[in-house]
Every structure is written in structure tokens, then in C-alpha cells.
């Protein structure tokens, strides 16, 4: 199959604009009004555009893809050829993105992710909207059929049953999916609007969308403002003679900037998550969102690695939370677009937990907090941080712009409540099927890891932690979020407790995966034979 013919002009234009612009601006600036040189720059720019168009035509002509019964085959490449075969049962996510222009032309971009490698495994830019929907649907169906076939064989040792399920005639879907799934898997594909298949799990109302924008304020954005301010402030201080007025101006400026950042982040969120809907189609979760650029992605539940509930301070205050579901393809926030791929951006806390349990049934948990001495450690740490700020303030006041730096000393006593909050928002719970960890006092993240998804268990102790006999336990999964260090971690546990936790988690993992038959109780000697 070829890409959509309109993808040639769309790709060429989006690429050529940047190219030609760079040549034109650079060339014109360098030629400094010399007519010959300026003309040369224009010619080069035109040539660049032609080259891009030629390349895109060749790309289109040499791009070929095919969805077979069990794989997605892609042959591509202008200068060096590449033929790639992606087994469907290894596919993690299939995402369809439609930018504003693509929507006007009826096109869509398809990204297919598997667990391996860093980048997107297959990127189809662009196919028609119907073709994108067909790909998304058929990948789901065929993968589902494969998986059903496999378990059927394992259960009933009847390969015929597996084949029957593979054709989708028996429709062995969970009842929750409703009759719509049977309709969807009749093999004959009809381009029904994507929004109408499956069971609607969640829809973000306009009011909640607005709330989400306002509540999901990310303090990290402020750090950018602070970095920017360090450039502006010194020149401001020189210009304003009266130090008190200067201070007022700075304070007002900071306030305005902060409000501005908040509003901008709110607007960005609203644009990103406009019209958010989450549906369950068979064994997949499927979301769509976006005001200008529509994103439509699948999250296969059979590939689920972790489930996390995230609440920042504001959300906690008003009883809201967001839900993130992680697969090995990519994590929320690491998606190709860089947007936050929350399964639910914002909903009342109880609803979030209901849905989380629907996706991955986990029991009530009772988090145990780090030992009391950890809190003392946090007090010291925050006090040290506050003292650093005071020292920096003193230096700025002394050398750059004079202001009452000693007012910053008021920050130091705040270390005590801050430490208490940090302590109260860290914890861990392990039961037969799951490990639940929690951390983060501004943006609290509660991560649920099913035992059968645990890859390795890592205990780590920095020199400071060694002094206090505290250990952090990382429960690593194949989820790509763990790479950025934001995976499931039980921070600052008592040394022996951490050992016990690590042993228990490993034992339970071995049992759930079927390597060991019974859970062990302490001791390194295992009598249970390895499963064969």
C-alpha cells in the first residue's frame, strides 16, 4: 500500500518552509543588501525547495507498507533502503495524529510503537483518515485474535478453537465491551466514526477541561521564568535609582510573569485536551483529544505495565486526580508529540480510582510511611536548601541589586512543615498481586505495579542514606517511564525493611510468572523446583 498522494505536497511544504526560510533569512542577512548575493540566496532557496519536493516524491514512490495477518511490513528509504517487519503481537501503541492542515485535507499520521528501541518503530506520514482508522482497528483485532488464540490453546489444548477465535466469529471478548465489539470484529471494515465504537469510559466536560487547565499548573515552568528574570533584573536595578521602587517593580513583574505562565500553561492544556474521550474497545483503551491537532491513540491493556494516579497540591485540595496508564511503548509525557498522555486528565478522585481498578484490579492499599528518622533527614535537607537560598540572596544583594535579603531567613523554618509533607507523601505497600508506591509532595504520584510486570528489583543507598540506614527500593518494569527515574520507587525505607520488601517482591514475581510454585517465607534456600 502506498501513502496518500496528498502526503507529498503536505510533507514537502512542511519541510520546505523551514528550509527555504533558513536560506532566505541567512542569505539576505549575509549579503547585506548586495543585489547579486541576495539574488543568489533566493536561487539557492528555490533550489532547496525543488530538492525537497524531489526527495518527497521519491520518498512517496519508494514507500510501501502492508498489513498482513500477523505483521506490519514496511519498505521505505530513498538513499538507503529499509525493510521492516513488525510482529503485531509485539505492537504496544498505535497512535493517529491529525494536525490542523492534515484534518483539512482528510489525512492522518500513524505511529506504531513496540517495546524495543528508543524511537517510533513505524511512522506513516500521511495516509487517509479512513486508512488510519482501518490500520488502528485491524492491528487491535488481529493482535487480540492472536492473544486469544494463544490462551485458548493453552487452556483447551484445542487449536481449532484458537483458529475460530482468530477469525473473530466467536467474539470471546469480555462482556463489558458490549455488543459493539462483535460488530467491530466482523472482519468487514466499515469506516464508522472513531468516536462511536466501544464503550465510553470517560468524557472530559468543558468545565472539567477548564479546571484541568487551571489546576495542572506546573511549577517547573516557573524555573524558566526565574532563569529569564536573572537576565532582566540586573538591568532593571541599574535603571531604577530608588531601591524600594525597584523592589516593588521586581515583585510586581514576578507576579505578572507567574500569572502569565499559569495562564499560558492553562491554555496549552485546554488546547491539548479539548474534547478528551476515553473508550474501551475490546482489550484496548482508546483516547482522543486536541482542539487543533487531534490525537487518537490506543493503549492495549494486555501490555499494561503500571497504573499511576497523580495529584498535585491544587488537585488534592479540590478532590481531583489524574490517571496515567503506562505501556512499554512509551510513557505519558514521553510520547512522540511530547504531550502528557494521561489516560484521564482530570476527574474526581473516586472516579479515577474506580477506573484505575477497572483497568488493573488492585486491592485497597495501606501505605506505610518511611521511618521517623527520614523526616528528620528531610528537615535538615530542606533547611540546608533554604540556607543556600539565603546565601544566594545575600550575594545578589551585595553585588547585583540591593534588597532586604535577610527577609529570606523566614524560609528556613518552613523546612519543618515541608519535611512533614514530604514524609507524609512517601510510602509503599506490597500485597499478593501488586506493589504500590507513592512519592512527591507537590505532584504526588501513586504507582501501582502488578507483580507479574516486575523486571528487576534494585536497592540503592547513597552515602547519606547509609548514614541513616535508609534504602530506596526501585521496582523496575519495562514501562518506559522508569528510564526517566519516575518509575515506582519506595524512597527511604528502613534497611532491613527494604531487604524484606525486595525479597518479597522478587518471590511474588517468580510465583505469579510461574517459575516458583509457592511463595517462600524468608531464607535464601528455595526448595520449589523451577517450572518447566
Amino acid at each position: 500500500m502506498r501513502l496518500h498522494p496528498l502526503s507529498v505536497p503536505l510533507r514537502a511544504v512542511s519541510r520546505a518552509i523551514g528550509f527555504a526560510w533558513a536560506f532566505l533569512v541567512g542569505g539576505v542577512a549575509l549579503s547585506r543588501g548586495d543585489p547579486v548575493l541576495t539574488g543568489g540566496a533566493v536561487v539557492v532557496a528555490v533550489l532547496a525547495v525543488l530538492a525537497v519536493v524531489g526527495y518527497e516524491v521519491a520518498y512517496f514512490r519508494r514507500f510501501d507498507y502492508e498489513l498482513t495477518e500477523d505483521s506490519l511490513d514496511i519498505a521505505s528509504g530513498v538513499f538507503s533502503r529499509r525493510e521492516r517487519e513488525i510482529p503485531l503481537r509485539r505492537v504496544q501503541n498505535v497512535d493517529v495524529t491529525r494536525s490542523l492542515v492534515a484534518r483539512l485535507l482528510g489525512l492522518a499520521e500513524v505511529d506504531v510503537e513496540t517495546a524495543g528501541g528508543g524511537s517510533t518503530e513505524a511512522n506513516l506520514r500521511f495516509v487517509s483518515r479512513e486508512e488510519a482508522a482501518r490500520l488502528q482497528e485491524e492491528v487491535r483485532e488481529r493482535r487480540g485474535a492472536r492473544e486469544r488464540g494463544r490462551t485458548d490453546r493453552a487452556d483447551a489444548t484445542d487449536s481449532e478453537a484458537g483458529d475460530a477465535a482468530a477469525t473473530g466469529v466467536e467474539g470471546g471478548e469480555p462482556a463489558a465491551a458490549g455488543g459493539t465489539d462483535a460488530e467491530a470484529s466482523t472482519g468487514e471494515f466499515e469506516p464508522t466514526p472513531v468516536g462511536e465504537r466501544g464503550e465510553l469510559l470517560f468524557e472530559l466536560s468543558d468545565r472539567d477541561l477548564l479546571l484541568y487547565g487551571l489546576l495542572s499548573f506546573d511549577p517547573r515552568l516557573l524555573s524558566g521564568v526565574v532563569a529569564f528574570a536573572t537576565f532582566v533584573v540586573p538591568s532593571l536595578g541599574q535603571r531604577v535609582d530608588v531601591p524600594n521602587v525597584g523592589l516593588a517593580v521586581i515583585a510586581a513583574g514576578v507576579l505578572v510573569l507567574g500569572l502569565g505562565v499559569w495562564l499560558v500553561s492553562a491554555v496549552v492544556r485546554v488546547v491539548q485536551f479539548y474534547g478528551f474521550r476515553l473508550r474501551r474497545v475490546g482489550d484496548d483503551l482508546r483516547y482522543e483529544r486536541g482542539l487543533f491537532e487531534r490525537k487518537d491513540g490506543t493503549i492495549p491493556l494486555s501490555k499494561l505495565q503500571t497504573v499511576s494516579v497523580e495529584e498535585n497540591v491544587l488537585m488534592r485540595r479540590y478532590g481531583f486526580a489524574s490517571l496515567a496508564v503506562e505501556t512499554a511503548g512509551y510513557a505519558p509525557g514521553q510520547s512522540p508529540s511530547g504531550g502528557s498522555e494521561a489516560a484521564i486528565p482530570l476527574a474526581p478522585r473516586a472516579d479515577v480510582f474506580t477506573l484505575a481498578r477497572d483497568v488493573e484490579p488492585f486491592d485497597e492499599y495501606d501505605l506505610s510511611r518511611p521511618p521517623e528518622r527520614a523526616r528528620k533527614r528531610y528537615v535538615r535537607r530542606y533547611a540546608l536548601a533554604a540556607l543556600t537560598v539565603v546565601a544566594a540572596g545575600f550575594l545578589v544583594s551585595r553585588f547585583v541589586v540591593s534588597f532586604p535579603w535577610y527577609a529570606l531567613v523566614a524560609l528556613v523554618p518552613l523546612a519543618v512543615p515541608a519535611a512533614a509533607r514530604a514524609h507524609a507523601n512517601r510510602g509503599v505497600h506490597a500485597d499478593g498481586d501488586h506493589v504500590v508506591t507513592q512519592k512527591g509532595w507537590w505532584r504526588r504520584r501513586t504507582t501501582v505495579v502488578p507483580n507479574h510486570r516486575v523486571q528487576t528489583v534494585i536497592r540503592s543507598q547513597t552515602v547519606f542514606q547509609q548514614r541513616w540506614d535508609l534504602t530506596s527500593v526501585v521496582v523496575d518494569t519495562a514501562g518506559s517511564r522508569s528510564i526517566s527515574g519516575s518509575g515506582a520507587v519506595a524512597v527511604d525505607r528502613d534497611g532491613s525493611e527494604a531487604d524484606e520488601l525486595a525479597d518479597t517482591v522478587v518471590d511474588r514475581t517468580l510465583v505469579t510468572v510461574g517459575v516458583r510454585e509457592t511463595p517462600e517465607t524468608g531464607g535464601g534456600q528455595s526448595s520449589a523446583a523451577a517450572g518447566d
Binding site: V454, Q455, T456, Q461, A478, V513, A530
Partner: protein, 159 residues
């Protein structure tokens, strides 16, 4: 609990030496260019001395702390000077096992085993400084154990 071959310290010390030389040269160049009034003949040897001393200390401590254990169902590794790390890898999670031997390692008759899992920190699991015969042995054992612990129904699929 098994320890590494003592000769691995030579490999580490060699790296420390290279690193110290590079830093000393860089410091010397910086002093020459910036000219802060200190002779580069003082700065470069000083930088070399400090880096070499700290590096040697680190290498020795690292060797003292490094431990691993090929257990029945898991591979256990203990390492790290500043951050003490203890990793447990169930064999069922092992994707593949590499053995590697660099030029210096070959001269010393050493090698290392690298164990990959689907987990994000997979590449972390490497056992350096094993005697050549032991490398093959460990790799073979891990490979066998990884295959043996594979459940038949595919339930253990990592991802």
C-alpha cells in the same frame, strides 16, 4: 557470594590513569590560555595527582564492595562506592546475555558478562572482571537458567 577477579583493578586503574592524564592536560591548557598567574607546571601535576589518588581509592573500594551471586532463580549483584546498589534479576526476565572482552581485558585474561532485561535499567546489569573461563561459565549458566525458567504458556512474556 562471588567476588571479581583481582586483576580487574588493573583495568580500572588504567582508566583512572587515562582520565587523570586527560584532565591534567586540559588543566594545563586552560592555565596557559587564561594565565591566572600560576605556573602550568604546578597545576597539571597537581590535578593529575589528586585525580589519580581519588581514582585509585575509588577503584580499590569498588573492588572491595563488588559481589555477585548466581542463585537458583535470580542473579544478585551488589556494587557501588558512593551509591550502594543491590540488584536482583529474576532469570525469567533475562532477554539475552552478552560476554565482552576489551583489548586490555584480553591481555589480562579477563572478560565481562552483560545481562539484558526488558526493564529500563537493563544495561546496568553487567559483571566486569571475571576470569575468561568463568565468563563462559557464567554466561552459559545464565543462558541455561533463563531458558529453563521460561514458563511454557507465554504468561511470562516480559512486555
Amino acid at each position: 557470594m562471588e567476588r571479581l577477579d583481582g586483576k580487574v583493578v588493573v583495568v580500572w586503574l588504567w582508566r583512572v590513569l587515562v582520565f587523570a592524564v586527560v584532565l591534567a592536560v586540559a588543566a594545563g591548557v586552560a592555565v596557559t590560555v587564561l594565565d591566572p598567574g600560576v605556573s602550568r607546571l604546578v597545576v597539571a601535576p597537581a590535578v593529575f595527582g589528586v585525580v589519580a589518588l581519588l581514582g585509585t581509592l575509588h577503584a580499590l573500594l569498588r573492588y572491595r564492595i563488588w559481589r555477585f551471586d548466581v542463585r537458583e532463580d535470580t542473579l544478585y549483584i551488589e556494587r557501588g562506592v558512593l551509591v550502594r546498589v543491590r540488584t536482583t534479576v529474576p532469570y525469567v526476565r533475562v532477554q539475552h546475555v552478552d560476554s565482552r572482552r576489551g583489548p586490555l581485558e584480553r591481555v589480562l585474561g579477563l572478560g565481562r558478562v552483560v545481562v539484558y532485561t526488558a526493564g529500563s535499567r537493563g544495561a546496568d546489569v553487567a559483571i566486569p572482571g571475571l576470569a575468561a573461563a568463568r565468563v563462559d561459565d557464567v554466561q552459559e549458566t545464565l543462558r541455561r537458567l533463563a531458558i529453563e525458567s521460561e514458563p511454557e504458556d507465554g504468561e511470562g512474556d516480559a512486555v
